[in-house]
Amino acid sequence: MGDVIDKIIKISGRNVNLCYQCGMCTAVCPMAEYMDVKPHQIIRMIQLGDERVVEIDAVWVCASCMACVDRCPRDVGPGIIFEAVRLVSLRKGIDKIDYKAIEDLEAAPTLAMVTASRKYTG
């Protein structure tokens, strides 16, 4: 298995092999309809060692509500794995936020900015 997949598994501390693709994560995900690749499909890509998983937009759409983690029947914890995917992407220096595009930067709530920086920047 590739380096990237290894990192995702290591960071998340989860066992993706346990996933039996029931789709509970997708069924309960409030953001699923806005995702290019659905949560259960992301887990499948990781099971198959597909490194393109870091290019998926859906992990950035993820609201980190952890409903999927709560309901996952196999305790795979998709939301935690998506966090790991985001971390791996960030460490590659990919920024998912453009500060210049924010119109009124000074009016933006500080806490939101800190959170956004943490989650979306490398």
Partner: protein
């Protein structure tokens, strides 16, 4: 056959190669050479397969020719071949109390494969210990216990009834205890059975009638086993029989009582889909065929007493405790459905139109609460769209971790029955995997898939809720296409899993263990599927694990055959390796009495006395005794002392 002389030890050691399993690591020739030097050993040899006919004959011949009075076989684990060699030594006239098997495969060659020298040395050491043990073993007379030729079956569902009929047909009296007012169990609540679509009631009612009329079966309904004492072949049970308040013999089923009764409560037989009176007949074919008063809800108004034309009702009837002696027990207490209220996201117990699979069965039954019409329970409108959710709360670490095995098949059946009643209806079945292992099962599944209007969707349902018009909205995913689905449905049917109906207290009284999910634990999943840790107590049906009707029936017959085997003898012999009290040392503290899990020890004249028949030889008393007054026969302190000395007496090379 010549009598064996046990005065001076003459021990033979037989070392097995187990092909290369042992011999490739343990130097068996060296072992033979070393053990010959042990005190008491007069013969030692090795052979390729000691368990083979030739190998066993080597032992038999040596016992006769060398006048052996003790045998140690160094081979594999005793759980495999203890009995094989026990039979061989006994056929040569040697008592098996002077025989021991030591596992030099599991304990030496398999675990120490990287170190041949030490594996060989360890083999010699543990053989030396075994030699030291049997050298000190006395030959005790076997203990005989009388067998009570009567059986108890707990649970009157299909498994319990089958077991009871089988045992009774062998001429053995059976007591069948059922906690409900009628026998029939879960099966009588079903519509048709897969894969043949036979009417479930038509299949089970002849069995119920047979149980009711069988001269060898005594049926106690509204009854529960409250206490069990004794042991294999000789149990004493106490049964609590709740008052029925209606005389079974007198009741003519006219139903006037029920018409007169002012109290209405929910009917558990239809799983709450209808009401019944406080005096009622559970269903028309109930056995015993008599009305019953639900003492919990009855107000004792006496209306029924006034109208009963045969004076069959007695509101003063009291609960009874019945005591029985039996030789064997079959536990067939069956299953219940997992509580759907634990899945609030599916709306069970919140929305009327979200039901469980047994409730759906009641909608199919022609005599059911809707007269066989499949309707929305909220407003009685026909159900044009039904969503079935398989694995509801199953295969799920948050609910039941296991698969209940029958849901794939009954859901397929229910979808088929639905389509036969509502031809223009739509059925959607959410599944994860469809499991149809069983004769004719896959074929049945295929037949259901062929029906237009039944759609199998591979995926989970996330949520079920109700819109303003009272329709259910089901959101889920089809994992194969990745599409998110939203289905408007009239009914949602949850395939809830099977949970065992086995009271922990009863299990403890029967001394049977339960697994992590509460199912009764068999002794061996493959070879002893109906036996329990408690001798003479057998299990059958869904109390042992999820299974369908045919498997329950097969297992019930298996349990019955075990009971018949046991009760066909007048006595059973057991190993005399029981606890023994040194009365001169016993100070009568009674610690052993409270420690003994079998109630086999009592205090008599200030000293402990062991009931040999009841003692199972577990050794708890020996460990507990503060003054060392109790020992197990042939496992005394002296035995252990000499065994340890023997282990350290072998010189390291």
């Amino acid at each position: 056959m010549a009598e064996i002389d046990y005065s001076e030890p003459r021990i033979g050691v037989f070392v097995c190669h187990c092909g290369t399993n042992i011999a490739a690591i343990v130097d068996v020739k060296k072992v033979v050479e070393e053990v010959k030097k042990l005190p008491g050993v007069v013969h030692a040899e090795d052979y390729m397969y000691m368990c083979s006919g030739i190998g066993q004959q080597l032992i038999i011949n040596a016992i006769r020719e060398k006048k052996l009075n003790g045998v140690v076989v160094a081979a594999c684990t005793p759980s495999l071949h203890y009995e094989t060699f026990a039979r061989a030594v006994e056929s040569a006239g040697l008592d098996k109390q002077r025989y021991e098997i030591v596992s030099i495969r599991e304990y030496c060659s398999w675990v120490h494969f990287h170190d041949r020298r030490r594996a060989t040395e360890k083999a010699v050491r543990i053989i030396a210990a075994a030699v030291a043990r049997i050298r000190n073993n006395r030959v005790y007379k076997p203990i005989r216990r009388r067998i009570v030729k009567k059986a108890l079956v707990i649970g009157g569902g299909i498994a319990g009834m089958t077991a009871a009929i089988d045992i009774a047909n062998a001429g053995i009296p059976v007591i069948l205890v059922e906690k409900e007012p009628t026998i029939g169990g879960r099966m009588i609540q079903l519509s048709v059975t897969f894969p043949t679509l036979d009417c479930a009631q038509c299949t089970i009612t002849p069995k119920m009638a047979e149980v009711g009329k069988h001269p060898n079966i005594k049926l106690y309904t509204l009854s529960e086993v409250v206490d069990v004492s004794g042991h294999i072949g000789n149990f004493h049970v106490k049964i609590r029989k709740k008052p029925r308040m209606v005389d079974i013999e007198e009741c003519r089923l006219c139903g006037w009582c029920s018409n007169a009764c002012p109290v209405e409560v929910i009917n558990e037989f239809t799983r709450g889909l209808s009401k019944r009176k406080a005096i009622y007949l559970p269903f028309p074919q109930a056995v015993p065929a008599a009305y019953v008063i639900d003492s919990e809800h009855c107000t004792r108004c006496g209306m029924c007493v006034k109208v009963c034309p045969v004076n069959a009702i007695n509101l003063d009837e009291k609960e009874e405790i019945i005591e029985e002696d039996v030789g064997a027990i079959v536990v067939a207490t069956g299953f219940d459905l997992y509580d759907g209220r634990k899945l609030p996201e599916y709306g069970y117990g919140i929305y009327k139109n979200v039901i469980d699979s047994l409730q759906f069965e009641q909608l199919i039954v022609p005599s059911g609460p809707t007269k066989g019409r499949i309707v929305r329970l909220s407003d009685g409108k026909p159900a044009k769209t039904v969503v079935f959710i398989q694995c509801a709360g199953q295969r799920d670490v948050n609910h039941l971790p296991y698969c209940s095995k029958i849901c794939c098949m009954y859901t397929a059946k229910q979808a088929l029955m639905y389509k036969s009643k509502v031809p223009d209806g739509k059925a959607y079945i959410f599944y994860i995997d469809v499991r149809t292992a069983g004769k004719g099962y896959e074929e049945f599944y295929r037949k259901v898939q062929e029906i237009p209007g039944i759609t199998y969707i591979r995926g989970r349902v996330g949520k079920v809720w109700e819109d303003e018009d009272g329709n259910l909205i089901v959101t889920g995913v089809d994992t194969l296409s990745g599409e998110l689905l939203k289905i408007k449905a009239d009914l949602v049917v949850l395939a809830l899993g099977m949970v065992p109906q086995l009271d922990r207290e009863l299990a403890a009284k029967l001394k049977i263990s339960v697994d992590e999910n509460g199912f009764a634990q068999e002794v061996h999943p493959k070879l002893k599927p109906v036996e329990t840790e408690a001798g003479g107590v057998y299990i059958a049906g869904a109390v042992q694990g999820p299974k369908d009707i045919s498997e329950s029936v097969a297992q019930a017959s298996a349990a019955a055959s075990k009971v018949i085997q046991l009760l066909s003898k007048d006595y059973i012999e057991k190993d005399p390796l029981v606890a023994e009290v040194d009365e001169s040392r016993c100070d009568g503290c009674g610690l052993c009495v409270s420690t003994c899990p079998y109630g086999a020890i009592s205090l008599e004249n200030g000293v402990a006395r062991v009931n040999e028949v009841a003692c199972e030889g577990c050794g708890m008393c020996a460990a507990a005794c503060p003054v060392g007054a109790i020992d197990l026969r042939n496992l005394t302190e002296k035995h252990f002392d000499e065994m340890i000395k023997a282990i350290y007496g072998v010189k390291s090379r």
